[in-house]
Symmetry: C2
Subunit: 308 residues, 2 copies
């Protein structure tokens, strides 16, 4: 499998998570933005991961990546402990508090791309320090489409390199609060539109259980979220959304507003599966035909035909 | 105008509001659930209002109703002061605190329908005490479609009559929190679906700036909200949404999932205009062709054609 052409490269964090919800607590489960993004993308395209784990990273977790057919040549395993995160969800299952973050081997992570990744046409800069995102971007030949994800932490402590990233990518994903924090605009719609001036052709505003919005000079699109009657673990939903989007886009390999809207709908659908169970449990048993069926259902929920 | 057939009857509160936002403060503006709902409905159908005001109610406010062509035969003006509400919006312009509520003449309101209202085919029971909603319902001959709106207050203090209302209407509108409070379900989607068992054929879950969702045995629909870059006053948005919906539905006079979805999209569109300015200021200068243009725009924002 390692020699198959990688069409999509993703960089991000790999970690071991401990997650508490009002219902249950799960220790030492597979997590990290890169894990969720690669798993989601792998339904649609051969994806290469760029990340780091420690020597404590279980073989069983490596086997999960192999289950998804993720290319692991860009995964470094170095002396030390893997990045660890633990958090607790409130009663609404949406708001959460971080209990602990241990960077461990992630602290000295220096992403190095395998030569065969460099010509990949699609690149996703997952949620890591903007300096590292830039280092990955600089190792790529000339990707057709680059997505960057970010979070409030980097807006607060690394605004300058983050703005450089934003100036060099095709699309930026962030949530309402982050868009407002980044721009100083009170209104998230205005904030997102103003970010188009900073460089990216597309801004995807993530709204959690309410879906997402796409802003571009070509038009605005509302991306619905699939309505779930129950879910166990929202961890990684944003990464799954972005990864599913990039996978679908790279798999189709066609740019423009139409394909991008379509791929965002796919990302939203995969993300809704991901949260149904803890960690990657649901994605591991998910089949592509289930994604397609739910995608059709979601599409029909928002297709309001004129005079229908 | 008073003799034109009334196709839609709406009952609710009429009031004089004082509203504070982070930006400004407006004293003694026209408000109340009935005011917003009737104004929104009047773009599409002849609407009769059932409500009460005091002798202090300004003639200028009556002139606003006349501007919209609202039928005022069901509007009682009685000795005393009009219902008053004041509230303050937080920095997000969404969360708000009530500063004061004075029921005044509303306390002894006994809705009496003019005989020519009783045969109207559409009825909206706006947000008032469920006992009053029932009293209005009982005066109607045999409406084709009845919508009831409610709020947390009635769920807390008048659950029994509220459940009777719910058992006798075609559609119930409420927000996420209210649906969870009413059913005891943690998940709003499950809460809404479970309310279908209580009687209504349709449940519309209002999600504020995120739009709404429609649940029915015939299917689920996601109703988007028009993305606004700025708005001045979200007061009455839910009433405008419900009123615009009922007006559009009554104007078309056709039932079923398709027409109902379509009318909900109209309601969402009118509500997005309403919040742009204080009180009814924006609705007063709104033209039907503006609604139709924005409706087309909103529809295109969510129409994700397969493989588009």
């Amino acid at each position: 499998m390692q020699t198959e052409d990688v069409k999509l490269v993703i960089v991000g964090s790999l970690g071991i998570d401990t997650i508490e919800t009002p219902v249950t607590r799960r220790e030492d489960v597979l997590g990290g933005s890169l894990t969720y993004a690669c798993a989601a993308a792998s339904f649609f395209v051969r994806t290469g991961m760029v990340g780091v784990v420690g020597t404590d990273f279980p073989e069983a977790f490596m086997a999960v990546y192999d289950h998804f057919g993720i290319d692991r040549e860009g995964l470094q395993q170095v002396e030390g402990k893997t990045f660890r995160w633990s958090g607790v969800y409130e009663a609404d299952m949406i708001n959460r508090r971080t209990l602990a973050t241990e960077l461990n081997v992630f602290e000295s992570f220096n992403p190095a791309l395998p030569p065969r990744y460099r010509g990949a046409p699609y690149l996703m800069l997952g949620n890591i320090a903007p300096e590292l995102q830039l280092r990955v971007l600089e190792q790529m030949d000339a990707p057709r489409f680059v997505l960057a994800d970010t979070m409030d932490l980097w807006i607060n402590i690394a605004r300058e390199p983050l703005m450089e990233v934003i100036g060099r990518v095709d699309m930026l994903t962030l949530n309402d609060t982050e868009a407002r924090l980044l721009t100083g605009e009170v209104n998230a719609v205005r904030a997102a539109r103003s970010l188009l001036e900073a460089g990216p052709r597309y801004i995807a505003l993530k709204k959690g259980e309410h879906g997402a919005m796409l802003f571009s000079r070509e038009g605005t699109a509302i991306i619905p979220a699939y309505p779930l009657e129950a879910f166990e673990d929202p961890t990684g939903a944003g990464d799954t959304f972005a990864g599913g989007f990039m996978g679908a886009l790279a798999g189709r390999d066609e740019l423009g507003l139409g394909p991008i809207r379509d791929a965002l709908l796919v990302g939203s659908t995969v993300a809704a599966f991901g949260v149904e169970r803890f960690s990657l449990e649901r994605l591991q048993e998910l089949e592509r035909r289930e994604i397609m069926a739910r995608l059709d259902e979601l599409r029909s929920m928002v297709s309001h035909a004129q005079g229908a």
